[in-house]
């Protein structure tokens, strides 16, 4: 598919997804009312709904979705493995472990700021462990060793989570399980600011690595002959992509499939040139998660479906459809 055409379509989809997030909700507002609320006028209740609830949720979905998809695309490039995803690499496990730990200890209550922070710290610990294990086994950070280390560290964290849950009381279990399914229910402007502070600079760095990733896709040795400091690029890309993931997990819980399916879908449509793949993955992930959140809020209103369920329910058939198209 034509790259700029797809880019245009995705930009339009992203704009549309934000508009839809602001326009639709369990409380029905007319477009006029929503617009008035955005401009700071209209009914006070409408303003609260649009400015305090819908808008931060939409922006958080955009940041988290875009970040997860971008990080997924980078992990797939780095590890040259189509399965590479924050989940496989133990990063989600670390983040979930950190969050469940503070929940179980009772440190985090009433939606305090410690939960995202702990998730973040857990993700960083996981990344550190994965790198230590991998470099202890092999100094050149071999792809297979990294993947293996990720799987092992992730498994360890999930074992710790199971242990913590087994000895926790029911409210903790409930909160932890809901959190592990991912939700934007707790979206706040502060969460948006935090996600933006981590995601936007990280995204710029990752987009800047696109050319080096292209070279590394031909072969790491070739890339180094062409002047790429392969190990340094790997370290930077790995750390920054992990940071984006951790920030996303911290504010929205564990949302699966976005990091796996979105980059794959984009690759099937426009190929693997990272200069195109990375920005389009960000756009597609952002729009996808924003739409998914509208569905999560609306489908069983006034109840809410965990957004991870939506991303899986919608993402998997879409992925299979693309896969079928790419095979024909």
């Amino acid at each position: 598919m034509n790259r700029s055409l797809l880019g245009g379509l995705l930009l339009a989809a992203l704009a549309l997804s934000i508009l839809a997030s602001v326009r639709f909700g369990t409380v029905s507002l007319t477009s006029g009312e929503a617009l008035a609320a955005i401009l700071g006028g209209g009914d006070e209740t409408h303003r609260a709904i649009v400015l305090q609830l819908r808008l931060p949720r939409a922006l958080l979905a955009v940041l988290v979705g875009g970040g997860l998809a971008l990080a997924g695309a980078v992990f797939q490039a780095l590890l040259r493995n189509p399965l590479a995803e924050p989940y496989i690499l133990g990063i989600s496990g670390g983040a979930a472990g950190g969050a469940v730990l503070v929940l179980a200890l009772g440190v985090s209550n009433a939606g305090s700021w410690t939960l995202p922070l702990a998730a973040f710290a857990g993700a960083l610990v996981a990344i550190f462990l994965v790198f230590r294990v991998a470099s202890a086994a092999d100094r050149s950070l071999d792809v297979r060793v990294l993947l293996l280390a990720g799987v092992v560290v992730g498994a360890f964290f999930f074992a710790c989570i199971s242990l913590l849950l087994a000895i926790s009381d029911a409210p903790t279990v409930r909160t932890a399980v809901l959190w592990m399914m991912g939700s934007l229910y707790g979206a706040t402007w502060r969460g948006v600011a935090m996600a933006a502070a981590y995601t936007i600079p990280s995204a710029i760095v990752l987009l800047g690595l696109a050319r080096a990733l292209n070279l590394m896709a031909i072969g790491e040795e070739t890339a180094s002959y062409l002047g790429v400091n392969v190990e340094q690029i790997k370290r930077v890309a790995f750390a920054v992509a992990s940071l984006v993931t951790a920030a996303g997990v911290a504010v929205a819980g564990v949302i699966g499939f976005v990091g796996l399916i979105v980059p794959h879908g984009i690759r099937m449509l426009v190929g693997s040139d990272h200069r195109v793949l990375l920005p389009l993955s960000f756009l597609a992930g952002a729009a996808f998660l924003a739409f998914a959140d509208v569905a999560a809020r609306m489908a069983l209103a006034p109840g809410e479906i965990p957004i991870g369920v939506i991303t899986a329910l919608v993402g998997v058939p879409l992925f299979l459809f693309l896969l079928r198209g790419s095979l024909q």
Partner: protein, 263 residues
């Protein structure tokens, strides 16, 4: 000025195994066409990779243009030496021009966009290697000979002072093999230094200024073709009797394997 230099090079891939290189010293002068020969497993590719800094020597020193290799920055190194490695994967369907444009990375870095100088370098490299007409073809559709020339074009687009090639003509037919070596010869005549690892003794004898024969990690012979390609040296190194004759049509040395007498 020397381009590549190795002194008492010892390379061991794993502790306890016999060294892949065992005390190799050699010098490639600037502007030379230098060929590294030897049987399978004699350490040819290892020597090349050690000279390019991707294999760290156990002991010994490697330098490029008189400066120890570990003091070179990767990008500066890539502006000095263009490499055509033996193996690389075609990860995604790039066009010929896109692949050759990758040779500009050491000049551009991760962020700078292609400028006029880059476009000229790419065009010249494409023309030099006679692949300009293929520029929009996906590299997945090229023949083996075309792909090899495109990869050399990528190395030339780096605008290097030296080229290093690992078996550039393995599995190519004589027409493609000859066209590539003639391209390399022309480049040397224009001032480039070329270091090539090859199995083909005859073509090395014909094109290279100096030759190095490796035998189980050690230098068996080094020098001009007449001194290196002798029946005695080759018979010992390859453990197969050969005859070396001067060929009438080209004036080059011709190595012919003989039939080994049955024990």
């Amino acid at each position: 000025m020397t381009t590549f230099e190795a002194r008492d090079l010892v390379v061991r891939y794993a502790p306890g195994t016999p060294p892949a290189l065992n005390g190799v010293s050699m010098v490639v002068e600037e502007g030379a066409f230098y060929a590294v020969l030897g049987p399978n497993g004699s350490g040819k590719s290892t020597l090349l990779r050690a000279l390019l800094g991707v294999v760290r020597p156990h002991t010994g020193e490697v330098s490029l243009r008189g400066i120890p290799l570990d003091r070179w920055h990767r990008r500066e190194l890539a502006r000095t030496v263009g490499v055509v490695p033996q193996l690389e994967s075609v990860a995604f369907p790039l066009t010929v021009r896109e692949l050759v444009a990758m040779g500009r990375y050491p000049h551009l870095g991760p962020l700078r966009a292609e400028g006029e100088a880059d476009r000229i370098a790419i065009r010249q490299a494409l023309e030099q290697c006679d692949v300009a007409r293929l520029r929009e073809r996906p590299i997945t559709t090229l023949s083996g000979g075309e792909l090899q020339r495109v990869r050399i074009a990528r190395a030339l687009a780096q605008e290097p002072r030296a080229l290093a090639l690992d078996e550039p003509t393995a599995s190519l037919d004589i027409r493609h093999e000859m066209s590539i070596f003639e391209l390399l010869r022309r480049s040397v005549d224009e001032g480039l230094t070329v270091l090539v690892v090859t199995h083909n003794l005859n073509i090395a004898a014909r094109f290279a200024d100096r030759l190095l024969v490796l035998d189980r990690g050690k230098v068996a012979a080094e020098g001009v073709a007449e001194d290196v390609l002798t029946e005695e040296v080759l018979g010992r190194v390859y453990q197969w009797p050969v005859s070396v004759q001067r060929e009438q049509a080209t004036g080059g040395l011709q190595v012919t394997p003989l039939t080994r007498p049955r024990p």
